[in-house]
Amino acid sequence: MNSTRLGRAAVIAMAGTILLSSCATNEAGSTPSESDTGSELTGTMVGAGSSAVGAAQETWIAEYQTANDGVTINYDPSGSGAGRETFLAGGSDFAGTDRAFNDEEVAAGGFAACAPDSGIVQLPLYVSPIAVIFSLDGIGSLDLDPATIAGIFAGKITSWDAPEIAALNEGVELPSTSITPVHRSDDSGTTENFTDYLGAAAPDVWTYEADGVWPIESGEAAQGTSGVVDAVTNGTGTIGYADASRAGDLGTVAVQVGDKFVEYSPEAAAAIVDASPFIKGRPDFDLSIELDRTSDAEGVYPIVLVAYLVGCETYLDSDQGALAKDYFTYMASPEGQAIAATDAGSAPISDALFEKVTAAIDIMS
């Protein structure tokens, strides 16, 4: 295990060096005028973790580095587990992860990049709706309740004209095509959040634990988001789940929340985060959310992926702390959130959450 950690750290460091040299030369040449307006910050920061945040990080880093000539940030989308491990071992300055560090991990401490006795800040800065997509000729939207969705993905409801589906969609002409559910064949945060939703919202039908790897042998598997979208598009009577930004022209499911059916939207995805409580017993600046998948609040869309960006309260190296603080401020800012929404299809955080996040970032140093 140690050798793996060291190996990863070495790879990150090496990639960082390469990126550092290339970016620095690029920006000096292309944006000379910005050096006046940019901040005085200089340095290199390394992050690692969730690949779901990868696209957003690319955008943020590009924008941030354009505004701050002297800074180089590097994000390695090595996966959430690896990202947490790297951050814990001190191989990175911040982590992106599909789940926050839990109580035991926070209590155990030992975050090598942070000052001794310093806690960590965990901020839900990347919220992304997961769409349930399907391919049926002439049908653009279906209303489904959690139990029916779980039944379909568990392989218990096998035909599109099953009474469970028909009862929720009066007036829609459902074909008798058999249902082919498609799930991810690789380990992914999307699967983890989707199975978490199924388990929470339909506990009677979906009796499996939330996991990044699809827990049962049913239906079709495809590699990556594009693999799932491809399989759903090319197949007949297929249904799958994917990052909402990739749903395209496919039919999407409006999910039952309370007694209404809600289509995915950035606002609805941000709303579920607001409707959910923070995990109890954490310091004010640990904004870990206990996602309330069963919430019946108005206008929330419960199938979302929330990724956290994790940094230190106090960094071992105060220069690094200043840098991290500035970068986190940028990511949380309305501009940062808006650009991630455009480029990565995430949902901008609400004003209420923004205030809490800002308060947490304020204590970083």
């Binding site: 295990m1 064949s185 598997a221 693999g227 491809d230 297929t238």
Partner: protein, 310 residues
């Protein structure tokens, strides 16, 4: 005058050349040993770990690796089953039937096929072959569903082990064809003419002169093709709809995954002992390949005595 034959003077060029061949020979052994060592050292944590820590919490490491090992051998064997007769046919056509000009052109095209990157084959498998085969699978399952290999339910997207095997077959055809073609061309002219002089037709000539002479070579060619199919990663990862099962069904959407394909899918997000478990499956693949190659070598050696070559 002395009767002793004067020994040739050893020139520096000879020394350097023999030295460099020795170096090359040793280097490949060292590389192989390094790979084996890496696999073994990295595998140990997974082999001694609590099986519950492995993905899917199997009862033991062997229960974790068994479906993968099965899928690897199953997909590769199917691919070989499709590719082998076709390749021998193409090779014989090029070496003994086709007019020289066509034979040359065909040879080039087959070699070109070997140069296509596997990711391109994967894309072709997903975008073209799988949708194309889907109606055929539907028909197969609705008419021959009683046959265990085509047991329902049918896959809705055509991304089955059979599709993967077809893509793999296309990928190994050039390897087997190119090698067997060269071997068939080596058949001693005298053997062939003797057969024809005895009144054999061209088919009989091939049966009594060409094939026996080339048998060992054909088997080696098939084994090289099989090796490629066993280790193929990208095509399996992209095309197959994998599950953790041991199943012979060819047309379903729950197919056994292969070791190489599974590593490609799971490595990016693996950490801790999960990485070691994946490396350990790589070790198993290494062993499977070694065993299959040894069996092939054994067959080749045993048959050598009966081939027409001596």
């Amino acid at each position: 005058m002395t009767t002793a034959i004067p020994r040739a003077k050893v020139r520096p060029a000879d020394r350097i050349f023999s030295g460099s061949t020795l170096f090359a020979g040793v280097l490949i052994l060292v590389a192989l040993a390094a790979v084996a060592l890496f696999l073994i050292v990295q595998s140990i944590p997974a082999l001694v770990a609590d099986p519950a820590e492995l993905e899917g919490s199997p009862t033991s490491f062997w229960a974790y690796v068994a479906p993968l090992a099965f899928g690897t051998v199953w997909a590769a064997a199917l691919a070989l089953l499709f590719a082998f007769p076709l390749s021998i046919g193409i090779a014989l056509f090029i070496s003994h039937y086709a007019p020289r000009r066509i034979a040359q052109g065909l040879g080039y095209i087959i070699d070109l096929l070997a140069a296509v990157p596997s990711v391109v084959f994967g894309l072709w498998g997903i975008k073209v072959l799988a949708p194309f085969l889907t109606p055929f699978y539907d028909w197969l399952v609705s008419n021959f569903g009683w046959f265990p290999l085509f047991a329902p339910p049918v896959s809705g997207t055509g991304r089955t082990v059979l599709t993967v095997a077809v893509v793999l077959a296309v990928m190994i055809i050039p390897i087997i064809t190119a090698l067997s073609r060269e071997i068939f061309l080596q058949t001693p002219r005298l053997h062939e003419e003797a057969a024809l002089a005895l009144g054999a037709t061209r088919l009989e000539m091939i049966q009594i002169a060409v094939l026996p002479f080339g048998r060992a070579g054909i088997i080696s060619a098939a084994m090289l093709g099989l090796g490629r199919a066993l280790g193929e990663t990208m095509v399996v990862a992209m095309v197959l709809s994998p599950a953790v099962v041991i199943s012979f069904v060819l047309t379903s959407s729950t197919n056994p995954s292969t070791i190489a394909g599974n590593i490609a899918l799971k490595f990016p997000d693996a950490y801790g002992v999960g990485v070691n478990a994946l490396v350990a499956t790589g070790l198993i693949l290494f062993i499977i390949t070694l065993v299959i190659n040894s069996i092939a070598r054994f067959i080749v050696n045993r048959r050598k005595a009966f081939s027409g070559a001596n």
